[in-house]
């Protein structure tokens, strides 16, 4: 038999339990979506930077082109380029037929909420690498 002061208690308990299960789910959704977005953005940045570096005529112009391309692609992807790390290397050196390897990394903060932004805490580094070949018949 239910007492009169127990009316509605099952409803409240169910909702509280549901909220307790849904909050971590929403949090996980936000983190996974940010990881996905960061992976896409860093992959795009590495590809753009590799393309630019493979067309550069010197190390200095290649470095500047890589920085510009990475910043452009990350901003397009909704990511702060200040927090990203980009490195590149021409193997063996910047010349016809050589390979240019670009690596872009970005830290995804784990503690964050969707649409609300990031909260301080541990990060997962997302890294993308792209290798571009310098045209062996280019005119430089």
């Amino acid at each position: 038999m239910r007492l009169s002061d127990e009316r509605g208690q099952a409803l409240i308990e169910s909702l509280l339990l549901g909220m307790l299960l849904l909050v971590p789910l929403i949090w996980a959704l936000g983190v996974l979506a940010d990881l996905h977005r960061s992976a896409l953005a860093t992959a795009a940045a590495a590809r753009e930077a590799g393309f630019e570096a493979a067309n550069a005529s010197s190390d200095a112009t290649a470095a500047a082109a890589v920085d510009a391309a990475v910043a452009r692609a990350l901003i397009d992807g909704g990511i702060d380029p200040e927090q990203a790390r980009a490195s590149w290397a021409a193997i063996p050196r910047l010349e016809r037929g050589a390979a240019v390897e670009v690596e872009v990394s970005y830290p995804v903060t784990v503690l964050q909420a969707p649409f609300l932004g990031r909260v301080t805490g541990p990060s997962i580094w997302v890294t993308s690498r792209h290798v571009a070949r310098i045209d062996p018949y280019r005119s430089l």
Partner: protein, 142 residues
């Protein structure tokens, strides 16, 4: 012998019958609310996924537009195809706008992809999603 009085007074039969149905009603309300919350969480996931797919499609389109022998029409085709293959019918009313700006020997291609997320129940609003991507083509010296 003296009868001892109970602390909890006995309920009338009619009140007990009324209580029997209230538990079922409460459970139904709780389940409906939880269902709405779960569907809302699924919709949030779809919004986040669609946003990422649209961003990726804009970039793929911009990349396609600067490749040798390709143009703005290829950017539209590639961007649409990426959204179609990755998100199916999730994104509706999709539009791809391509603009090309010449700066010196550079051609700056900007692709904007916009659309609306298909509504499925909880939020009867088609949530807009969109993204812009830029790519640069260096014109070959003549």
């Amino acid at each position: 012998m003296r009868k001892r009085r109970l602390l909890v007074p006995a309920r009338p039969a009619r009140a007990q019958r009324a209580q029997d149905g209230s538990a079922l009603l409460e459970s139904i309300f709780a389940l409906l609310l939880l269902l709405m919350l779960v569907l809302g969480a699924i919709q949030v996931a779809f919004v986040l996924y669609a946003r990422n797919v649209v961003a990726a499609s804009a970039h793929e389109g911009a990349r396609a537009a600067v490749e040798l022998g390709r143009n703005a029409n290829d950017a539209r085709t590639v961007a649409s195809e990426v959204v179609r293959s990755a998100a199916g019918g999730l994104v509706e009313q999709m539009e791809v706008a391509v603009s090309v700006q010449a700066v010196g020997d550079l051609s700056i291609v900007r692709v904007r992809v916009t659309g609306r997320l298909k509504s499925f129940g909880v939020v009867p609003v088609r949530i807009p999603v969109g993204s812009v991507a830029t790519s640069v083509r260096r014109e070959a010296p003549v």
